[in-house]
């Protein structure tokens, strides 16, 4: 590329957010359509990345590097490889979906969409950043818009959920800053450059401390058991758009950072602590699945289901084989698509029924057959029906993990059974069954809603039926990671 493509894509939403301020705040429709246009342009700007990406190349691609604060060696360094590119693209896509899903936002529309665009800058930046300080800045930048999105447009308990989300994640990530500084001063390189640090690996005696600072920050973001308790509040209280972003993309920031920072920069500590990470991952899988079984609220059920599925990704990362890592990265994308879709549908259903209580739902397959059918589809994808994307990711993770952690993998397979149990039961009561007598009549899916769901369905089927084009981006990058660590 002969133009700074990543910078343009990352900061385009910022330009868009500033442009939105030119539209009078009461011209709600213009604001919505403009935001949609801005995010679509962003997605279109990302397409050359897919075509221009040279599969199998070792170095970071589309890299841009410029000194930023030279006094302390901070540079503006961005670039993508086969691990970050899929997530970067996922971010671009899910934001478009989120804009479509947020049409129902009626209050302070301009503020909402501006914050959403700010949020996009932070998310994309995290996946592209190759300088630790830059990475940290983007990482934290996500918090502010998310706080407002939950706090202003969320459900009844929004204020509490917003503060809890913020403090939890801030407390988790604040220590990361000390870890980053420790790397800078003790690695002997005096650099924040992630690529340079990846090449040598950080093995100073402070490595365990540094590992812990990062681990806590990432584990909270994913989230893993036992630091997941902010999640049910935040996911459930957030407006639909916020839930999609959090489950779809923000959680991937955590899993992605595990690979990029913990495996690649701290390989020694990763090897030492991987068994413990695997234990936490398995606990996350089972604990969250059991908790999901106990939920009577559809949105909460989806939220815990999300935690449970993230556990598989973490297991795949901790197992650290070629197959399991491929599966983990692919599953990150799948999880974004599937969980995003589930939250989207829960939101659409709520807009009609005004309730998420499974006991107050029922018969949606009769009342709103298309939306109901889509929910069944998403649930099946989530529980790993062969032919849909969730199956491919999970089977790769489980196959790949078995050689490293046989017992854990077997427990994780039982987790799949639990997943099937709560998802099928939710479908049985909420979608099928007899509609309660009090339930009114609803319009089925409208054009805008349909279009927002369609790309997710298509991708879920595509990955499920023919994952090769997707894995061809991921596999070489995974190989590079493995080679770097195993020498």
């Amino acid at each position: 590329m002969d133009y700074p493509i990543i910078t343009m894509i990352v900061f385009w939403p910022l330009v868009g957010a500033l442009l939105l301020q030119l539209i009078p705040r009461d011209k709600v429709n213009i604001i919505r359509w403009s935001t949609l246009l801005i995010t679509l342009i962003g997605l279109a700007m990302g397409l050359p990345l897919l075509s221009g990406f040279k599969v199998g190349q070792t170095a970071m691609q589309f890299a841009e590097k410029a000194p930023w604060i030279p006094g302390i060696g901070i540079s503006y360094h961005v670039g993508l490889d086969g691990i970050s590119l899929p997530l970067f693209m996922l971010g671009l896509l899910l934001v478009v979906v989120t804009v479509l899903a947020s049409w129902s936002i009626k209050e302070r529309v301009r503020e909402y969409f501006s914050l959403l665009l700010f949020l996009e800058v932070g998310m994309l930046g995290v996946f592209a950043a190759l300088d630790f300080v830059l990475f940290y800045i983007f990482w934290e930048l996500v918090l502010i818009p998310m706080y407002f999105i939950i706090g202003i447009w969320g459900g009844r308990n929004r204020s509490y959920a917003a503060v809890k989300f913020f403090i939890y994640t801030l407390a988790g990530s604040a220590l990361m800053l000390v870890g980053i500084l420790a790397i800078y001063f003790t690695s002997g390189l005096y650099t924040f450059d992630i690529v340079k640090l990846m090449e040598v690996g950080y093995n100073h005696q402070l490595a365990t401390f540094v590992f812990l600072t990062f681990f806590i920050g990432f584990a909270v973001k994913v989230p893993m058991w036992p630091v997941h308790t902010w999640l049910p509040d935040a996911y459930v209280q957030a407006p639909t758009g916020g839930s999609i972003i959090m489950a779809g993309i923000l959680s991937k920031m955590g899993t992605y950072a595990f690979i990029r920072v913990i495996i690649q920069v701290l390989p020694g500590e990763f090897t030492r602590f991987a068994p413990y990470i695997a234990v936490l991952a398995v606990i996350s899988i089972v604990y969250a699945a059991l908790t999901a079984i106990a939920q009577s609220d559809l949105k909460k059920l989806v939220a815990y289901s999300s935690v449970s599925h993230l556990g598989y990704i973490m297991l795949g990362i901790a197992a650290f084989t070629q197959v399991s890592l491929n599966g983990a990265v692919l599953q990150m994308v799948n999880h974004g698509l599937i969980t995003g879709m589930l939250f989207l549908l829960v939101g659409y259903i709520y807009e009609r029924t005004q309730t998420n209580e499974i006991s107050e739902l029922g018969g949606l397959s009769v009342k709103i057959p298309i939306l109901g059918g889509m929910f069944v589809f998403a649930a099946l994808a989530s529980l790993g029906l062969p032919g849909l994307s969730g199956f491919v990711g999970e089977i790769l993770i489980l196959l790949g993990s078995y050689s490293t952690y046989g017992l854990y993998t077997i427990i994780a397979v039982f987790g799949l059974a639990l997943t099937a149990f709560y998802l099928i039961r939710a479908n049985q009561y909420a979608i099928f069954g007899v509609p309660p007598a009090t339930m009114g009549e609803f319009r089925d899916v409208n054009g805008r809603e349909f279009i927002s769901i369609l790309p997710l369905i298509l991708l879920i089927v595509a990955v499920g039926v023919y994952p090769k084009p997707f894995l061809q981006y991921i596999d070489p990058a995974v190989n590079i990671v493995l080679q770097m660590i195993r020498g």
């Binding site: 604060i69 006094g71 302390i72 940290y136 800045i137 502010i144 706090g151 801030l170 800053l177 420790a182």
Partner: protein
């Protein structure tokens, strides 16, 4: 030494401030009531002129008056910060109803600024003490200018505690003089070097720390700060929140590393303890506050704690980082005070709940306030983050990782109380939808600070090269 041997150019900024302080005071006496409005403008011109003459001294290292008065990097940068922040206060208060006559108000500010500038340059115990008194005496009067019971109580408290601190400081100084027979910092260091370390020296060090710790509101000498921040008139509190501290920190950076270099581990250790106690206590007590200015008062104590990290590090990188942090902190704290000034001028109360729905009544003020508070937390994208990045990097560099850890944990915790203000502004509906309007100079001043806080958060490089970081 005759007067002709003094290089008066080195004192030009001080001379200009003194001149304008006298002009403004005379203006109060002799000008007609309507033309007194221009006194604020005159003050601004004076501050700008002093700042301009200061730029001529940039990079100059010299001492005058037999080494009593030093022109150096620390003094220059802190004076510049002082002049800039004071100018922003004056700009903000141009159209604000004063509790004193305009001339009295502005000339007292200028006299206090003058004292602070001398304090920043003092490299002699006598000079330091006189400068310190010149700083605080106008501050006592300004604090008392609200003529009600609460104002009087606060001013009296401030005065009494300040006097006690001064006396302890003076006693420490006499001990130091008794040990060395010198008042000049460099001479003291010469005398102390080589000899055994007397217990009295540690006592002197601690007493001086008490006196200067009071100036910068470090725990446990902080009791005056929340009261004064809350009880003084808002314009005065805005000035006190930043201005005089510049002198305090400059004096600390001059006195301890130069005069007391032989016992560096001792005072660095005590500063580390004071840092931890100040940031932790300030942040925790801030949680209990319902009055916005008291909240900022405790937040200021916490920030003094962060700043002391730079002293605990005790090297030039630490001091430079500390100066940078002082500037970014001053901007955000001052900005918050000016927003409060704007809302109180409109008749809005000062409880945190009075800020309910401000984002609808005054969108730009609310955005500015939110940004200032985010910057105080140290969130990336705003100046406060860059400040903390350098401050904590200085700690990590000097193997004080534990101090950096406590610092970042405190920063994360502090969000919990700053957010209560943001919550009121954005998440709570206003009781009335009446739009708040702000006088133009005040609005301009707030927007200037807002721009600076965002700019320094994104691209601090130019500024950092000015302060050698």
């Amino acid at each position: 030494m005759s007067l002709t041997q003094v290089n008066w150019m080195a004192l030009m900024p001080e001379i200009i401030v003194l001149g304008f302080a006298i002009i403004v005071l005379l203006g109060e006496l002799f000008m007609s009531a309507s033309s007194k409005r221009s006194l604020g403008i005159i003050t601004l011109i004076g501050l700008a002129a002093a700042l301009f003459s200061l730029t001529k001294l940039w990079g100059v290292e010299t001492t005058e008056f037999n080494g009593m008065f030093s022109v150096d990097f620390t003094a220059n940068t802190l004076k510049a910060i002082l002049l800039i922040t004071t100018a922003l206060v004056v700009l903000g208060t141009l159209k604000v109803k004063a509790t004193l006559g305009e001339g009295e108000f502005f000339s007292l500010i200028l006299f206090s600024v003058l004292g602070t500038m001398f304090m920043a340059s003092a490299t002699d115990l006598i000079m330091l003490f006189i400068a310190l008194e010149l700083t605080v005496l106008p501050a006592y009067i300004l604090t008392a200018s609200k003529k009600n019971a609460r104002g009087a109580e606060v001013a009296l408290k401030y005065f009494l505690l300040g006097m006690i601190a001064s006396v302890i400081l003076l006693y420490g100084m006499t001990l130091l003089f008794g040990l060395t027979g010198a008042t000049n910092f460099a001479a003291i260091a010469d005398k102390l070097g080589g000899g055994p370390i007397e217990p009295t020296l540690i006592v002197a060090m601690l007493m001086i720390m008490v006196g200067l710790g009071f100036k910068v509101a470090a725990v446990p000498f902080h009791f005056w700060a929340p009261d004064v921040y809350e009880g003084a008139p808002v314009p005065v509190a805005s000035y006190l929140a930043v201005g005089p501290k510049a002198g305090g920190f400059a004096a600390i950076i001059h006195l301890f590393p130069i005069a007391l270099v032989v016992i560096t581990p001792a005072w660095a250790g005590v500063f580390a303890i004071l840092a931890v106690v100040s940031m932790s206590l300030g942040n925790l007590v801030a949680f209990a506050q319902t009055h916005i200015r008291r909240l900022l008062g405790y937040s200021a104590i916490a920030h003094t704690g962060y700043l002391l990290v730079g002293l605990a590090v005790a090297d030039n990188y630490g001091y430079s980082s500390m100066i940078f942090y002082f500037f970014v902190y001053s901007l955000a704290a001052l900005g918050a005070f000016l927003v409060i000034l704007a809302t109180t001028e409109w008749g809005i109360g000062e409880d945190i709940t009075d800020f309910a729905g401000l984002s609808r009544r005054a969108p730009m003020l609310a955005v500015a306030m939110a940004v200032f508070l985010f910057s105080l937390v140290g969130l990336p994208g705003f100046a406060g983050f860059m400040g903390k990045l350098f401050l904590f990097s200085a700690a990590v560099k000097s193997d004080l990782i534990w101090l950096a850890v406590i610092g970042v944990i405190n920063s994360a915790i502090s969000f919990g109380y700053y957010v209560t203000v943001i919550r009121q502004m954005y998440l709570v509906s206003p009781s009335t939808n009446e739009v708040v309007s702000v006088s133009k100079p005040l609005y301009f001043s707030i927007m200037l600070i807002l721009a600076a806080v965002i700019f320094l958060g994104i691209y601090p490089t130019t500024f950092l090269s000015i302060i050698n970081l």
